[in-house]
């Protein structure tokens, strides 16, 4: 069975995937040619991870087709994908830490390494060594995986993925999801040499946030935005700027971010003052937020910004530093203390951390602030109903009633309930918003933005971890850039004088 060299190794046509309340893939097209390294870029939420999962059978698309060497296939599991010669190196490394490298490489397909359930360690070692030789690695196959360095483990992963060669007689397609995010510069060089070597006998899909890397190692780059393919370009001669413009696109409507509603920042009244805050993944962070101000913190995965946010809410340990609210030093020993200090937090993982799915809208809304529902130690049902109904009305939360389980609402309405949780008592002073628009559609996003503006106008200070750079620039009065656990720069971001995303990207990587 021979396949003409011009037939793409992998082709995706009109792939669609809906999740409740959000469309992750909205008709994606993608072509991976034989023996090429294809870069895949897009902002958070552009649909990259869903697309990759569809390629290896972890997500079954609602519509569209995947063709392997010209033949339409249905991928229902990782094994299915492997049988068609598609394998993936996962972002969070997927090795069993307490097994040897050889076992990990051969896991699930030991072949002659295991006869009648009994291990032949010599054969295991030999088989694993063959795989490691393909990528020119000199790791000892019988060493335990958790004793290896990050870079070595990645080599083991690649060796493991290459095993799919045995399952299909065609050159494999290897997907690398953010392989460089935890590597040192030198290790990245080794990895790139590896990718170039892979190209000799395979096709590679390379996903990364670091655009310069993508351009360096790839032949061609495809760009995703909002679940759609928005274009591609040849890597040779291209500059990150072009890619970035494609990733961001033009700002939708002019007033998406309601800039005209931006609050007047009373900078002489610092609401939150943080000095020298250090924790497990961040060091020496200084942060000031004035009443009515929205400060965005941007940074790549691993910059530590999420942990800073959680530390301010007492959900992450702090080793040093001082936090002042309205000039008064406070000690945030836990989430309760943070609530008492008038701090509210909207977590990024709405479904698991933001809300309690089976509980009602009313209960979710009043979980944090008991004053709005209680008289003394007792629940006052009338009081609770009145408060909840008022906020359902004010925020236009679309729900059949206040007693409906929150999990039956759409994502946007769920998020509004989570936000309302901090507003019901009217004593909120600082809001920490961790990806407040993640997974929301454009209409719901716009409503959340408007709400943020109105809260700022009423004097609430806001720290925003935006879903995208565009969002950070659109919403913030000031932007802090974090890199590797430290604040590396601060950019003023007033209406009418917004910085360009590229300036920020430079600082982030």
């Amino acid at each position: 069975m021979s396949v003409p060299a011009s037939t793409p190794a992998l082709e995706v046509r009109g792939l669609v995937k809906h999740y409740p309340g959000v469309t992750a893939l909205d008709g994606v097209d993608l072509v991976v040619r034989q023996h090429e390294v294809l870069g895949l870029v897009g902002e958070n939420g552009a649909g990259k991870s869903t697309l990759l999962k569809a390629l290896v059978g972890l997500v079954v698309p609602d519509a569209g087709e995947i063709r392997v060497r010209g033949e339409a296939v249905k991928l229902r599991s990782v094994v299915d994908a492997a049988d068609h010669g598609i394998g993936m190196v996962f972002q969070e490394q997927s090795l069993v830490p307490n097994l040897t490298a050889a076992e990990n490489i051969l896991l699930g397909g030991e072949g002659p390494g295991v006869r009648r359930g009994v291990y032949r360690w010599d054969a295991m070692r030999r088989l694993a060594q063959e795989q490691l030789d393909k990528i020119g690695s000199n790791i000892d196959p019988l060493v335990r995986t958790d004793a290896l360095s990050f870079a070595d483990r990645q080599m083991v992963e690649i060796a493991k993925v290459l095993r799919i060669e045995q399952r299909s007689q065609h050159p494999p397609v290897i997907v690398l999801d953010e392989p460089t995010s935890v590597l040192e510069a030198k290790e990245i060089e080794t990895l790139f040499a590896q990718i170039r070597r892979l190209r000799e006998f395979a096709s590679v899909v390379f996903v990364s946030h670091r655009l310069d890397e993508v351009l360096e190692v790839c032949d061609r780059v495809a760009v995703l935005r909002n679940g759609q393919s928005v274009g591609e370009l040849a890597a040779a001669g291209a500059v990150p700027r072009e890619l970035h413009r494609m990733m961001i696109g033009s700002t939708g409507s002019d007033d998406h971010y309601h800039e005209n509603a931006a609050a007047v920042v009373e900078s002489e009244r610092p609401r939150l003052t943080v000095r020298g805050l250090s924790g497990t993944s961040f060091q020496d962070v200084d942060l000031d937020v004035a009443a009515g101000e929205i400060v965005a913190i941007v940074g790549v995965h691993g910059s530590g910004r999420e942990d800073v946010c959680r530390a301010l809410f007492g959900a992450e340990p702090v080793t040093a530093g001082e936090i002042r609210m309205d000039g008064k030093k406070i000690n945030i020993s836990g989430t309760r203390a943070a609530c008492a200090a008038g701090i509210g937090y909207v977590p990024a993982e709405r479904k698991t951390e933001g809300m309690v799915g089976p509980m009602s809208v009313a209960e979710n809304m009043t979980l944090a602030k008991q004053r709005s529902r209680c008289a003394g130690p007792f629940v006052a049902p009338g009081k609770q109903a009145a408060v909840v109904d008022r906020w359902i009305d004010r925020l236009c939360i679309r729900t059949p009633g206040r007693d409906t389980p929150i999990q039956r609402l759409s994502g946007g309405n769920q998020q509004k309930v989570v936000l309302a949780r901090w507003l019901v008592d009217g004593d909120i002073r600082l809001l920490l918003l961790d990806h407040p628009t993640r997974g929301l559609d454009i209409g719901a996003r716009s409503e959340v933005y408007r709400l943020m503006r109105e809260l700022a106008a009423s004097g609430v200070a806001t720290v925003l971890l935006a879903d995208s750079l565009e969002e950070a620039i659109g919403m913030a009065d000031r932007i802090l850039v974090m890199n590797d656990g430290r604040v590396v720069s601060e950019v003023a971001c007033p209406a009418g004088g917004k910085p360009s995303p590229l300036d920020l990207v430079k600082e982030m990587v």
Binding site: S77, V78, V79, A82, F90, S94, L95, V96, P97, N98, L99, E103, L107, G108, G109, E110, V114, G117, V118, Y119, W121, K160, R310, G314, A315, E316, P317, G334
Partner: protein, 298 residues
């Protein structure tokens, strides 16, 4: 330390006693170690051992019926343990009942089966071979001890050289990775519980040999002692670390500790208390490095 505090502790008889006492516990611990390696827990040892003790005492020569199956009877008892283990495993993978609940239920069922077979009259064993296990000695140690040593060896081979053992280890390390690699995890989980059950079955037989009679309470206390021994030996309750040899060392430590305490005059009733403290302390010590504020502990 105990050797200093009590001269009797040092005597040869006492060492022999300790090693013999460790035999049954060692076999139970061997079985439970595989379950713990997966990150599950097994509370069914007491029930399974009771059922197997009654089974074997009714199948070999005894005062209740005319059976005299000898080794075959022992084999049936071990198989029965295996079957109970299967039940726990199936409840875990098919019905998704957490292992501590499933095995608690299976333990109750085992005790029930044992009570049914007991039927109010204690079956005394007259089979010479089975009784001989506890009495006759080879190189100064009872046959039971040699059986236990063999079990440890078998357990170690299982753990080192078979897919079952290695996958039990891997399930405790990163179960989701196995699934991503296309390994069907469920059959292995059931098999591990079945193997553990077989070990308990054998332990039930050994207790019967020691007592010379089949008792419903043959296994009482062994479930928790075995967990203690495994934990003391360095097997983590979260799975993925430890092993049969670790557990064997743990068994010796626990036996020496409890025997030593008795020798220096501490009431034997404290044994359970000491074990309880050890388990809680060992688990607490193991979670210290990964203690984070917002981690969920059920």
């Amino acid at each position: 330390m105990f050797a200093v505090l009590s001269p009797r502790f040092r005597s040869i008889e006492n060492v022999q006693n300790m090693v013999d006492a460790a035999a049954v516990l060692a076999v139970v611990t061997c079985g439970i170690t595989f379950v713990l390696l997966m990150g599950s827990i097994d509370l069914s040892a007491a029930g399974v051992m009771g059922a197997s003790a009654l089974t074997v005492s009714l199948l070999v020569a005894n005062n209740r019926n005319d059976n005299d199956l000898g080794l075959l009877g022992i084999g049936v008892a071990v198989l029965l343990g295996c079957a109970f283990g299967c039940l726990s495993g199936l409840a875990l993978v098919l019905l998704k009942v957490p292992s501590f609940m499933a095995t608690l239920g299976v333990s109750a069922a085992g005790l029930g089966v044992a009570t049914l077979m007991f039927a109010g009259v204690q079956p005394n064993v007259s089979d010479a071979m089975l009784k001989g296990w506890a009495i006759e000695r080879f190189l100064g140690l009872s046959y039971l001890t040699w059986i236990a040593a063999t079990c440890i060896l078998v357990g170690w081979l299982l753990q080192r050289y078979t897919r079952l053992g290695r996958y039990a280890f891997a399930i405790g390390g990163a179960e989701e990775v196995l699934a991503l690699s296309g390994v069907r995890v469920k059959p292995y989980k059931v098999a591990v519980f079945a193997v553990a059950g077989a070990f308990y079955g054998l332990a039930g037989v050994m207790v019967t040999s020691q007592l010379g009679a089949g008792l419903v309470q043959a296994g009482s206390g062994y479930d928790f002692s075995a967990i203690t021994a495994a934990v003391v030996g360095g097997t983590l309750l979260t799975g993925g670390r430890g092993g049969v040899l670790h557990s064997a060392v743990g068994v010796l430590l626990v036996v020496v500790l409890t025997n030593g305490l008795v020798q220096i005059g501490v009431s034997p009733y404290w044994q359970g208390g000491v074990e309880g403290l050890i388990v809680v302390a060992a688990v607490a010590a193991a979670v210290i490095p990964q203690r984070r504020r917002n981690q969920v502990v059920k």
